[in-house]
Each structure stands twice: as structure tokens, then as C-alpha cells.
Subunit: 242 residues, 2 copies
């Protein structure tokens, strides 16, 4: 079977490959809202209150992963076994510490504009965060999300990042396969989860990781922040309005 | 002239190359004390108070450089020109915000032990920080430094990092040439200044940069924190006690 019509010899007919506009599965903290450092400070405060010393950069590198996995890794790295009461207290103190800092959390540059542009271009998108609903609400409230946008929080899935469940659930709610989706996140946990979900990952520097760390975790592309991704949307298959 | 004595044919006589024990020029914040994230929070608070929006990760990446250069870069990046009064207010608010967080600053793991080991091995060392004396005192007070250790602060030199003046002054006070010294720092500004001073740089991850960022800025070696450097001291020419 050979090409025909307007094209030259050997050209395939138009429409033979149907590549739909991609879907976008967004992380929240550090990706759409500038809240990573407030999470870091809240964990540091909680750990100090429980008498557990951990350097702050090590906390930073764990933000975005499941809180349960963070605490498991913490016990392994420090060699300290924490009882159930202390684990509950740490989670509570972190939540309270973060909520007390909520007033300083703002949308990242371009976040709202990016989501509006995706709506305009009919690129479906959803939010998938390792945070519980109560904590996620701080960031969600800043984004002016349309009601139809799916939001998958920690409470709704069996496992959080770097397991793929959050992104798989978000894709399901958009009625798209994960292979049609880009995962957009600021942490290596997002990008590792993207790979396990079978999606390509887009890394943003706005959570404080270096670009090479995100690339090493499998990022297909790395941008500075939502504004920078918006400025390069055609690179990831979203066509400008025509 | 050929070799002789105990060695085989062609071996050079012992002592022909005199390679002294290296000197160490340490940055302070993020390198010996865990204070980077407090500086980040203090700058964020100061900028917000002055109505200047800047993503927190961009603040983080500027910590360790001269405050004056930070504010110059800020104006260039945001396109906002700040008057002298605002610049003074920003500096004051940052200092006050940092000092109000001083209670949560602790030595990094292995910092005191590393400095003690260098003293034991007669490897000279000094501290060189872009902070003013008043701000540096928070970290210095945690380190139990012997009186003879030179400390060079922002107040004492014409220019701070990434200019080489701080490290050149620190080497001078140790009466060593910079080529004999390792600069130890957590930020790319330390490593860039090290290159300009003619010293090799050792990067530590404890300020929150990724290893590749430090390598790209010229790090000869990268370790996690002072404890990790201490565990590998023989790699940088300090021999274990024998």
C-alpha cells in the first residue's frame, strides 16, 4: 500500500496515525503551588519536637513521596525505630505545622495560566498529590480549578508516590490511558511514579531539585516552572490556538 | 640523575616532592551548620513584606552568594528596580528573620568531629562566609572553634562570593597559598569562588544542591555532609593518625 493524494511519492495518507492531544497529570506541591519549603519547615519542626535529628536537605529530598514511606525511610536511615504513637504524632505535627504556614503559600508563576491554556486547547488534565485532602486543600484553593477537574489525593488510593497508583487513578478519571499522559512534577518521586505508570514525565525545577536529578529520574523534558512549560507547550504536543 | 637506595631502578629518592598536608577553607551556612533553609525562609518573608514575588527555589539557589549580588540579580530577573530604602529594608528584614530562627539552627552531622580531626592531623583550616559578623555568629557559636581559627566574614573583604576575596583572605590568614587549600562549600557560589581563588573545591550536599550542580560548578569531589567528608579524609590528602 503506497501513499496518495496531495503528498509526494511514498507519503502516507493523512490521519493514518491518530495521536491525540496529550493529557496532563499534575503533582501539586512544588509543581503548581510554591509550598515545598513550607512542608520542609513543618517536617523539621515535627521531627525536632519528637527528638529526631535529621538534616534539612534530607527532608527536602523526601518531600512529595508518601508520608508513610518517608517515615519508613527515616527509620532505616537513622536506625531509630519509632512506635505507632510517635509516628502518629509526627504526622499530626507536620500537618499542623504546614497548615500554620498556609498563608505564605502562593501559586507558582504561570500555574493558573497553564491550566487555562490546557483547557482552551482541550488537553485534559487532573491533579494527583501524595498529600491528604485536608493538606492538599491549601494549594487547590489557589488554583481556581474548574469543577470537572479530577483531584486524586492520598486518601483515595492504596499507595502514594513513588508507587504509580495516584497517577493511574488520575488517568482513569480522565478516561485516558497513562501512555497518552504526561506526568508533571517537581520531585524525583513524581518522575519515578510516572515511569511505573507508563507515562512520560516532565520535571519542573520549582520544587528545588537540580535538573540533572530530574533527568536521572527519567524526565522526558525539564522546565523551570509552570510559566516556562506554558511557554514551550508545543514541545509536548499541545498546539497553539490557530 | 637517577634513583637510588631502597627503591628499584628508576625510582626517585624519597622526599623529592614536598606535598604538604592541605589546608581547608570552609564555608559556614549549609557546610558546617544546618542553616540554609532558615536563610531561605527569612529571605522569602522579607521579599513578601516588600511586595516582591520570587519563587522560593530561586531564593534557595542564591543562598551563599553576596547579599548585594543577590539583590542585583533579583532586580535583573524580576525587572523591578528597587530604591536604596527598599534594599536596606530587605537586608534588615532578612537579618531579623534569620536571627529569629536561630534557635532551630544546629551543627551539621560530623561538623565538630571533622574540625577536631583536622586539628589532630595538623591540617590548618579557616572559615570564610558571605554573611556579616552578626549573622555568622549564629553558626560560629555552635562549632566550638579554637581561638586561633581565622574567621573571615563579609564585613572584612571588598567582595563576597562568587568573587574569590573571602577565600583569598582566609588562605592568607593561614599563611598558605590558595593552591594548597581545599575550599569546602555547599553552594555553587563557593565552588566558583574556589576556582577563581586557584583552590580545589569540595562540594557538600548538605545545603540542598544536587551533586551534578556542584560538579558542574567545578567540584573536585562531592560528599553528603561533614560526616561523609570526615569518613573519606584520606581521599583529599589528610592521612589517618598512624
Amino acid at each position: 500500500m503506497s501513499g496518495s493524494s496531495a503528498g509526494g511519492p511514498g507519503q502516507l495518507e493523512s490521519g493514518r496515525f491518530h495521536v491525540p492531544t496529550p493529557a496532563f497529570l499534575f503533582d501539586l506541591d512544588g509543581t503548581l503551588v510554591d509550598s515545598v519549603y513550607q512542608h520542609v519547615a513543618a517536617w523539621q519542626e515535627a521531627l525536632t519536637a519528637c527528638g529526631i535529628p535529621l538534616s534539612v536537605w534530607r527532608i527536602h529530598r523526601r518531600i512529595g513521596m508518601s508520608g508513610g514511606l518517608f517515615l519508613s525511610a527515616l527509620q532505616r536511615e537513622t536506625g531509630v525505630t519509632l512506635d505507632a504513637e510517635t509516628l502518629t504524632r509526627l504526622s499530626t505535627l507536620h500537618r499542623e505545622g504546614y497548615l500554620s504556614r498556609a498563608g505564605s503559600v502562593v501559586p507558582l508563576p504561570g500555574a493558573r495560566e497553564l491550566l487555562r491554556a490546557l483547557s482552551d486547547h482541550e488537553a485534559p488534565f487532573a491533579i494527583a498529590t501524595s498529600s491528604a485532602q485536608k493538606v492538599a486543600e491549601v494549594g487547590l484553593a489557589l488554583l481556581e480549578l474548574p469543577d470537572h477537574v479530577p483531584v486524586v489525593t492520598r486518601d483515595l488510593v492504596e499507595r502514594a508516590k513513588p508507587d504509580p497508583h495516584l497517577f493511574l487513578a488520575a488517568a482513569e478519571r480522565l478516561h485516558v490511558g497513562p501512555a497518552r499522559a504526561f506526568v508533571v512534577g517537581d520531585s524525583i518521586w513524581d518522575l519515578l511514579a510516572a515511569q511505573r505508570a507508563g507515562a512520560l514525565g516532565i520535571g519542573l525545577l520549582s520544587g528545588g531539585y537540580g535538573p540533572e536529578e530530574l533527568q536521572a529520574a527519567g524526565a522526558y523534558r525539564v522546565y523551570q516552572d509552570p510559566a516556562d512549560l506554558l511557554a514551550h507547550l508545543e514541545e509536548v504536543g499541545v498546539r497553539p490556538a490557530s
